[in-house]
């Protein structure tokens, strides 16, 4: 049974009671929530995610409730709990959905050490995973959404989750967080894009979420082999340049984007070096998304081993 099989009213009722229990990629979660504005957005954005059976335990048990006191009513605020831990200051009730996503991110990067976690957007085509590690503002989520529009499968907008033993990418196809102009970029690219409510005044500016495709959610148990490691950087008004980088530089840059490399010790070293070993490694500077998407599509059209030569030629032509 999927969350979307329930009505919005049923979801709201369950959230205020025993909670909604979902499988989200490799994680089982339970969400209890009393904030009225959260339920419709959650129902929309997580509609394709499977609900847990009664005998399946939830790994992350998230509760959100109003504080005691005046902020229960005036400039209404909300508290976020993971079990009995409250990791964040109270946040405005109007931003319940983005704060749920950020809180869920925190649950993963602060608690998960059975996998290597890289801060990255990840998509898949023909069995090959494209990992795009990058800092906020680099354009990775916009590229991710654009590639999905072109038929790539969403693996994650936030984490490359790498298996420690097999080095494969484990999907967690949650909603894609779009910020500021990227919301309109994606709407213009795809008028049927299923984008949830827009939240104007978050700490990251204007934010909305793109609902993952049903296919991505249904294939959340299908892992992918890393094939390309691309470090994107959006530069307004710049041209497009996709250039190969050497593997040691790629390792060092990906290492900077890991949440738990050091905690994993030798397993982290083995997992990250295996990712770099398997991947063609590139830096992508772009000002025009369409050209960037074309270049990434070209990457996927050739076997990974052939990429370096082809792109080196392309880079010299463009540069």
């Amino acid at each position: 049974m999927k969350l979307g099989d329930l009505t919005a009213q049923e979801v709201a009722a369950e959230l205020t009671g025993a909670g909604i229990r979902l499988r989200v990629g490799p994680f089982n979660i339970r969400v209890q929530n009393v904030i009225e504005k959260f339920a419709p957005a959650f129902h929309f954005l997580y509609g394709d995610f499977p609900m847990l059976r009664d005998d399946e335990a939830a790994q992350f048990r998230i509760r959100r409730r109003y504080p005691v006191g005046v902020r229960r009513w005036w400039r209404q605020q909300v508290l976020f709990f993971l079990d009995d831990t409250r990791p964040f200051e109270p946040f405005p009730a109007t931003l319940a959905m983005p704060f749920f996503e950020w809180g869920f991110n925190w649950c993963v990067y602060d608690h998960v050490n059975e996998f290597l976690l890289i801060h990255a957007a990840v998509v898949e085509k023909n069995g090959g995973g494209l990992i795009m590690p990058a800092a906020p503002g680099s354009g990775k989520s916009t590229l991710c959404a654009g590639l999905i529009h072109r038929g790539w499968r969403l693996l994650s907008d936030e984490f490359a989750i790498i298996g420690k033993t097999d080095g494969r990418i484990i999907p967690i196809p949650r909603p894609i967080g779009l910020k500021e102009q990227s919301i309109e970029v994606i709407r213009n690219l795809d008028s049927s894009a299923r984008i949830g409510p827009v939240f104007a005044d978050t700490r990251k500016g204007k934010v909305a979420h793109l609902r993952p495709t049903r296919e991505a959610v249904e294939k959340a148990q299908e892992t992918a082999m890393p094939a390309w490691l691309v470090f994107p950087k959006f530069e307004s008004g710049a041209g497009m340049r996709l250039a190969p980088i050497d593997k040691t530089a790629a390792f060092v840059e990906a290492w900077d984007s890991c949440f738990n490399y050091k905690l994993l010790g030798e397993d982290g070293f083995n997992a990250l070096t295996s990712v770099v070993e398997r991947c063609g490694c590139f830096r992508l500077n772009f000002g025009d998304m369409s050209a960037a998407l074309d270049a990434l599509e070209d990457l996927a059209s050739l076997p990974p081993r052939a990429n370096a030569g082809m792109i080196a030629q392309a880079a010299s032509d463009v540069g």
Binding site: D246, T248, F251, V252, W255, K262, G265, F269, V276, E277
Partner: protein, 94 residues
């Protein structure tokens, strides 16, 4: 004993894990949990010291006799101090 006569060895009996691409090397120190990015001469020296202790003169002689063009060889004493500071090697005869 002068500094150049000291023998150096790896700092820990725990194994080092290596990965190299082209002439650049990554080494994971299983004792400290640290990962280091080394150039060719640093990796050559460290791999040599994994086998047996050696002095600066031993290392220079071996590298020169191998007829290897090794940039940075003249800075070998400073390199050994750096590897010591990183916790990768240690002098046997302080």
């Amino acid at each position: 004993m002068g500094n150049d006569e000291r023998r150096w060895t790896v700092a820990s009996p725990s194994p080092l894990r290596w990965r190299s691409w082209d002439d650049e090397f990554l080494v994971f120190n299983t004792a400290s949990g640290e990962t280091h990015h080394l150039n060719l001469i640093a990796a050559t020296v460290l791999q040599r010291l994994e086998q047996d202790p050696a002095t600066v003169a031993d290392l220079m002689g071996e590298i020169r006799s191998a007829s290897v063009d090794m940039p940075g060889l003249e800075q070998l004493p400073a390199l050994l101090e750096t590897l010591d500071e990183l916790g990768l090697i240690t002098p046997i005869d302080p």
